[in-house]
Every structure is written in C-alpha cells, then in structure tokens.
Symmetry: C2
Subunit: 419 residues, 2 copies
C-alpha cells in the first residue's frame, strides 16, 4: 500500500562472506550476551553471503523504502558539468525520522522484542540514531532510554521532543543515572560529552537491568549489514537507469551509512576495479585519516570488548562540531579493513567547507542536508570538479544520509560567520 | 529519474467547469494585472474542465510526486477498528519543504518568470507557504520577499533559516518596510500580526515595484486548481487499490489543501452522493463555521478586490495558535460555495484536542503531523470512531498536508500542559 514501490530487498548483503574481519577480544566479551539479542550476535559473526530480512521488518521498512535515487541535475548545472559527469543522490532522508538510521533500528528492536526484552538503552549524538530507535521501539512496543551527548542535547531541542513524542526517555550525557556518568561529571563538570561516554552509560544501564537490551547505531558488522538495503536498492536503481557508479561517496562517523551504501558494490570493485569509494570525515574527528589501527575500546568507560579499528583513542573527546553523528573516536572494523586494503580512500573537511557545500545543495536541489551529509556533498562537489578538470567521464553516487531540518541552527551560525 | 514513480497528472482539474463561483468585485480589481502574471489571472477565471500543466513545472513536481497514499494500519489498530473501516493518508509532507504548498508555488513562480517578473512578494503564516515560494523562486531564478506573521516569526526560527537558505528575504509582519505595516505598528505595537496584515504588506510592496509579482498561497480559484494534482493522484491510487473513499477530510485555513484533495471527487459525489467531505477549522479561527458569507476584503488594509466568501471580517486578528496556517479570516470562494450547497460540512476543534490527535498519530504511524494537519487527523479519528459505533463500513481518506518537524515547540507546550 505504498506508491514508493514494493521492490525492497528480501535479504541483507553480508561482506563478511568475502572479507575477514578481526573478531573482538578481551574479558569484556562476556557482557555481549547480556546486552544483545542472541540472533543479533549470530548476525555479527555470520559468514553467509545473504541473510533474510524478517517479514515483519520488511513491512515496516516498506513504509518509506525503497528510497529514491535522484539525479542532481541542478547541482550539475551549477557546477557547469558536461553530460559526461552525472551526480546521483540516494535519499535516505525520506524515512520517518529523517535519516538511514531506522534501517537497523527496526531490525534491532524486532530482535530484542522477539527474545523477550522489555526496554532498550542507547546513546545518540546528533539525535538521528536516538530518534530512529525511539521510533522502532515504539513500533515494537518496547520502552526506550536514550543517552544524548550533552552538546547535541543543548543544540537540538527539537530532536528531544521528537523522541519524547515516540515515548522515549531522554537523558543528557554524562548523566547522574549511571556510575560512569557521575564520575565524568565530577571530573569534568562542564564537558560537552562524547559518543564514547554516552555509549558507556547506555551499556552500564543495560548491564544492570536484566530486561534491558542495548542497541548500537553503527560500528558493528551486523549494523552495517542491516544498512546494506541502501546499496542493494541503489544497485537495482542504477540497473534500471542502465548505469553503474564510478565513484561512491558517503560520510563516516561509525561507518554505517557509508557501509550500507557501498558494501554491495565492493566485491565487483575488487575484481574489476570499476568503482572508487570515498569516505568523508570531519577534520575535528578523523578516525581513519588520523587515527591508529589497533585494538581499542568502543566506549570511554572501557566496558566493551576490544575492537580492532582505526581509533583516536577511547578517551578522545572531539570538539562540539554540528555534525554530532561524526563525533566518534573509532570506526567500524569493516571500514578499517577496507581502508587498510586500499579499497576505500578518505577525505577530511572542516565545518565551514561542509556547510558551504550544504548551502549550495539546498539552493540547487531544494533539500537541506544534515551537517553529517554535508561532508559527503562537499566530497561529491570536489570529485565532480576534479573529473571536469581532467575531462573524465564519471557517474558519481552520494549517500544523502539525512536531512538538516533539525540542524538549521548550525546553518544559521555558518551564515552569520560564527563557525 | 525518480523511483517515486512517473505517473504525475498532466492536467489540473478545474471545478469552475461545473460550479459557478461569484467573481471578485470593487475598484481594487484594477490592481490584479499589476501584481499577477496574465496567465495566472486567465486561470483564475477559466471554465475549462482540464488545464495543462507545463512540462517545466511537471519536471520539478516529479522530484517528489506522486506522493504516497498510505493505509494507517497502526492507527486503525490503536482505535480498535474492524477491517470494515479503513483509514488512508495522502503524504503531502514528502515535498522538499514539507507540505503541499510547493504544488502551486512552482506553478506561480514559473508563470511570473515566463512573463518577465524579477521578484515575488508574499506573506506566510506558519512558514509552510513562505518556504515553498522561496524554494520555487530559487528554482526559477527569481528574488523572493516573505512577510512572515510576527507570532510565527517568533515561534518558528528554523523556518526563517530554511527560507534564507533558499535565498529569500524574510521580514516580521507588521514590518516597517510598508506604509501599512508602519501604521499597524503605531496603532498596536505589541500585535502578534495576522495573515490579513501580512498579505496587505506583500501586496503593497508588489504594487510599488514594477518588476515584482505577488503570489498567494491559497484562497484563489487558480491556487485550488493547482492543488488538484493531489486529488487526481489520490483518485488514481484508490483505483489501483480497488477502493473509493466514503469520507474525505482536510483542514482549512484558506482552503487549498482541502480543495486540492477533494475537488476532483466532487462532481461524482454530487451525482452519486457517494463521498462525504469534511473540512476542519480551529475553534479560534472558524471562518466557515462561525463567519458570515459576504463580500469582504482579502487583506486587512482593504487593498484587494472584494471577494465573496465566509469571513470573520478582514479586521479580525485571531489568537496566536500554533496552527499558523489556519489563522486566516476568510476562506476560498470555492469552499464557501461548496459549504453553502451542503456538499461539504465543517468541524471545529481546539488546540489541545488537535495536538492530542497529533501525538496519537506520531506514536502509531511514526510521522509527526503539522498542527494544521492535526486538525484533519482529529476529525479522522472522530469519524472512524463514529463509524465503529454505528457499525458502518467506511473508507476514510485524510490529506496529510504537512509534517511538524518545525512545530515541535507546539508539541512540547502541549505535553507540558502549557496550551
């Protein structure tokens, strides 16, 4: 009952079928079965190429999927590109909460509900993940507690109200609800918080309550797999257009939107070298570009297992940039492996550059990108201009991970020269 | 290049082909050719049943149209309805600016551009219309000046930033840019403004600048005609479902979203009495339910021609309710005629009732309705419950005119018991 179309994928694509991902290690591995649904952990280690999407999940996904793949004709015109260079954007902003995040939130809430959990805790940076999980928990009849990074909690009051409308409980992190939150508040009372701290609080809360699961919005193998419905749709949509992407671009915080977008194209790219993958980071928190590849904790309290990834260090607290969703010290192990193999390359940009790109996109295409998405847009513009200079033919695809309706304060600060 | 589908209507439906609408009168008729494109005025008086949509306009519309018609299965479940009562909502919120308004904005900006105008002035209440016209002017390469009703200007800062991103100039109305604005500010310095005042300012500005057109977001026959692409799509979508609506519901401020939704169904309803039409107003500004049917001015400065409509009086300044788009003293002449003939009936609701309905909708369907749209949702819930009580079979269709991402402050006030 949805004219968006009915052809949404029936299975997730699993990159672990062709790529060896170092497993997590350390004593903390024992917490995993306490806070994650069993089926989720099975997916995390799974080597099958395709994993079925449950019917109940597909039904909810069909409320907004497949999302459109749109040619950016007016942006192309603005950049004075010839017909040889075409830009396409995948509109993940059309989901009910405005980003790609519900794709995995619905799946995770479904698995938790199936296994008898009553509540899910999580962290959120910009609020996109918190909104998505609040939405998903509400659909599955679960309670939801969201630890929201303090600087976003203060910058984005509307996100809080949205989550409350879905029935979730929202706490500014660090909070006094957890032992770790209290400790940080004592040590750095005026901290702007970080995703690492918020994750620590959400995990501590889940560990201490038997009926409570924990959900993570990115980083994990299973989360990136859930997001591959994006790339699988893009593949089908390009096939319908009779085209194939030469360049695929996305921003990376934990790596899930970029991963979901790009992973279904990786196998062919390894064989044929036909697609270039560009992952974009903020200069202020460039985990892959500036971080070290090593085993590190996923949270600041060192409660998680050790994860092999590019990391700025689990104690790193990035500056309070508007792209709250990109303020994570580490990156998905899958993205790290791809970066090490040279299959993906990274770009870094600062806040003024990315908001300028967002403004150009809004003026040309009419849709406001979230600050996170602006990073991908900036790299898209740069790639297109470079192809123009070099007189190359290029089909450039960018993942439009979310809209900026809740981030207009950031645009205002940018336009008023306050960044 | 849009998976939303390509079957958008090629022609507008014109209700004036079957319905006699009293023409405007009075000396001020002479201002019309100064501020409106000639082609627009021709459409305003047109009696043809179908009017072609220019190719350039269809191309921009296809960026977000056809919009989905979705069955509200979770709302139905929440209301414990049997399969005999089904609710469908038409998602006009998926447009780039979040409401049905771009449907006519694109058309009006196109006609102004074609006839050599360089700038368009307009008024806006909630900001939906101002955003839509800013978006459309930007697409057509025109400048745009928006007089925004003061209470919305203060309640909705994000809407202002969105319009600025599209390159528009935004003024709080009453402003000191116009003679009429200055007069009002002298008389009532702490006024919350009204659509009537903002219209007066926008018209005065357009009259005084030769290169400037004026655009109105509702009320006029041509505007309602542009919006009929909504109802034409709904008709086709119900045909695909093998269904036909027994009840059609929309909110009315000036009447354009309701008109665009319902008008293509009116001719058959007159013949077969197969569809009931319900138009919903806020108690605080119930033009049809409480107003008089007479010739009145469209603006507070009495610059417009006299228009035959239900009106609370052109001096009426409604309280600063959150549904800014419904704060208009009059109504479209087409809606008035339909009300007089008993073809449509009206309902009125107060702010707490409609926000409660909006909260229920958000929790069940996952999409936040704008406060204006909440009025239609409230009537939809009431209609469904009445049908349930009477054990009737009903297909209920509601126009989901816009999302409430910019109205969460209103929801917050409601949840905190401040309304």
């Amino acid at each position: 009952m949805n004219v968006f179309g009915t052809k949404i994928p029936r299975k997730f694509y699993n990159i672990q079928s062709i790529l060896e991902i170092p497993p997590p290690k350390g004593d903390n591995i024992k917490i995993l079965p306490k806070i994650f649904p069993k089926e989720f952990l099975k997916q995390e280690m799974c080597k099958e190429k395709f994993v079925p999407i449950p019917k109940e999940v597909r039904k909810i996904l069909s409320q907004y999927r497949p999302t459109p793949l749109v040619r950016a004709t007016r942006l192309e015109k603005h950049l004075k590109l010839s017909e040889n260079i075409q830009i396409f954007y995948k509109r993940e902003d059309v989901s009910p909460t405005g980003s790609h995040k519900p794709n995995t939130a619905i799946m995770q809430a479904f698995l938790a509900m199936k296994e008898g959990f009553k509540r899910i805790t999580t962290e959120t940076g910009a609020g996109q993940w918190g909104s998505a999980l609040s939405f998903a928990c509400n659909k599955m009849g679960l309670d939801c507690t969201v630890y929201m990074v303090k600087c976003s909690y203060e910058q984005k009051p509307y996100r809080k109200i949205l989550m409350k409308l879905f029935g979730a409980e929202i706490l500014s992190s660090p909070s006094d609800r957890t032992m770790f939150g209290k400790k940080i508040l004592q040590k750095i009372p005026d901290t702007s918080g970080s995703l690492g701290i918020a994750i620590a609080e959400a995990i501590e809360d889940a560990i201490r309550h038997e009926d409570t699961a924990y959900a993570l919005g990115s980083v994990l193998n299973a989360v990136l797999m859930h997001q591959t419905i994006i790339g699988l749709e893009v593949k089908e949509q390009f096939r319908e257009f009779g085209l194939y992407p030469d360049v695929m671009i996305g921003c990376i915080g934990g790596g899930s939107n970029f991963g979901g977008f790009a992973l279904p194209f990786v196998e062919e790219a390894i064989k044929k070298k036909n697609t270039e993958f560009i992952a974009v980071e903020p200069t202020a928190c460039a985990s892959v570009t500036k971080g070290k590849y090593k085993y590190d904790y996923g949270d600041t309290a060192k409660q998680t297992p050790l994860i092999k990834m590019h990391t700025l260090g689990c104690d790193f607290i990035p500056p309070a940039i508007h792209a709250g969703g990109l303020r994570y010290h580490g990156i998905a192990p899958i993205i790290s492996v791809l970066a090490n193999k040279g299959i993906i390359t990274t770009r870094i940009y600062n806040q003024n550059e990315i908001f300028e790109a967002g403004k150009i996109f809004t003026k040309t295409e009419g849709i406001v990108p979230a600050p996170e998405t602006c990073h991908a847009i900036k790299a898209t513009i740069d790639s297109a201009l470079k192809a123009k200079e070099n007189k190359e033919e290029k089909i450039i695809a960018v993942n439009f991970s979310g809209h900026g309706f809740f981030d207009l304060k950031g645009y205002q600060d940018f336009m008023e020269g306050k960044l």
